[in-house]
């Protein structure tokens, strides 16, 4: 075979391969443990939750007058997590009726003691504000009773510099719990780190949020 023929053959083979090849998906292997580890009589059990397609859009009620711009911060948090998904796995919307809400967000400190059957995910230890998410999980770990209760509260006077940023990132962090990231990241570059240092979810946060929606949950949401 002449040199020209060989080059033409290689070029044609390359063109055919390019024309026929499928799109290449990225490898999703950059995520952290998101499940809630619950001690039981038989040893630790893992609780994995995500909203089902039938639950969407998740209805979020926000107390409008308890923390500055809290509805706007929560809406931005919903938008931020929605953008993690390629296939509409999570969608949320703010609603005006707290009685029909799946998630209730308050701008006050979390009650000192969570209700007996509630699991609290405490977080956001920044000086300007704090956050917590309370989950009402049945003792047999089969159901998550709605609504989830989220607290994002200012800890300083409302004109303190940095408060708005703290409320914004804490809203994203707590909504991260509300979509199903029930554990904290050990990496301070992630917004799901216990004491978040960043303003937006990292690639690992987004990767974790994405992967958890493609595994079957161990609990289902019931109510409100």
């Amino acid at each position: 075979m002449s040199s020209l023929s060989r080059h033409v053959t290689i070029a044609l083979a390359g063109a055919v391969a390019l024309a026929c090849g499928d799109i290449g998906a990225p490898v999703r292997n950059d995520f952290y443990e998101w499940r809630l580890i619950v001690p039981t009589a038989g040893g630790p059990d893992t609780v994995h939750f995500h909203w089902s397609r039938e639950d969407l859009p998740v209805r979020v009620w926000v107390a409008a007058d308890e923390a500055p711009d809290l509805p706007a911060h929560v809406q931005r948090a919903i938008d931020t997590w929605e953008s993690a998904y390629l296939y509409g796995e999570f969608r949320g919307e703010l609603v005006s009726d707290s009685n029909t809400a799946d998630v209730i967000v308050r701008g006050v400190p979390a009650p000192l003691k969570a209700a007996a059957r509630t699991t609290r995910l405490p977080s956001a230890l920044a000086p300007e504000c704090g956050g917590a998410t309370d989950l009402d999980i049945t003792p047999d770990l089969s159901q998550l009773r709605l609504p989830m209760r989220v607290y994002v509260d200012p800890r300083v006077s409302l004109d303190t510099p940095g408060l708005a940023d703290c409320l914004a990132l804490t809203s994203i962090h707590e909504m991260g719990h509300a979509i199903g990231i029930f554990a904290h990241s050990a990496n301070d570059a992630d917004i799901m780190f216990t004491d978040p240092q960043v303003d937006l979810p990292s690639a690992r946060d987004l990767g974790t949020a994405e992967v958890l929606y493609h595994l079957d949950p161990t609990i289902e949401a019931v109510g409100p």
Partner: protein
């Protein structure tokens, strides 16, 4: 719809006014189906595919030689698209497509003509979300087909057409997320309509 789509069409129709006697116009309605737009793997295989959608085709052509014509054909389709994962389908919203092809056609047998063309396809989602988070996309498109025409009135023909076209699909959002290459997409359409025939 971007100017790149509208401008050539307007120019063709504007220029055709002086050549009205030789210009062939047609409009058809039909359905169009497409192969999957992309595949992904997150635990299980995932594919995204448009549903079979209604379409509208408009076109015009001018003679370029004995029996041969050149023209523009624009199509518009609007339908849902969905994701399939582990045998379960989920609706992803509405996806509109518009295409514009510069083509040539010629005779096969009386009443039947071949057509080839190349142009562009525009994806225009109803919502900038998911794979279209950064917006729609425009891709190069090539296709071929056949037209069957039968006179039904003095100046009008019944026109039935079959088309196949091919392009490669990706979006800015998929590229941003590290998807490599792009997905070959084949589309097939069947349509019927009326053509202002040349006698």
């Amino acid at each position: 719809m971007p100017k790149s789509f509208l401008l050539p069409a307007l120019l063709l129709f504007a220029g055709a006014t002086g050549l009205e006697a030789q210009t062939d116009y047609y409009a058809r309605v039909g359905v169009i189906g497409a192969s999957k737009l992309m595949r992904d793997v997150i635990i299980d295989d995932i594919s995204v595919r448009p549903s079979i959608a209604p379409m509208l085709a408009l076109g015009a052509s001018l003679p370029i030689g004995p029996g041969y014509r050149a023209g523009l054909e624009a199509t518009f389709a609007s339908g849902s698209y969905h994701q399939e994962e582990d045998g379960v389908e989920s609706d992803l919203g509405t996806l509109r497509t518009g295409s514009l092809l510069l083509g040539f056609d010629g005779p096969i047998v009386p009443s039947l003509r071949w057509r080839v063309g190349a142009g562009a396809i525009l994806y225009w989602p109803s919502e900038d979300a998911g794979i279209f988070l950064q917006g729609g996309t425009t891709k190069f498109l090539a296709g071929f087909g056949v037209d069957y025409r039968r006179p039904v009135m003095t100046k009008w023909d019944l026109m039935a057409s079959a088309r196949y076209d091919y392009h490669r699909f990706t979006t800015e959002e998929l590229e941003r997320r590290g998807f490599s290459q792009n997905q070959p997409v084949s589309r097939v359409s069947l349509s019927v309509g009326l053509a202002r025939g040349l006698r």
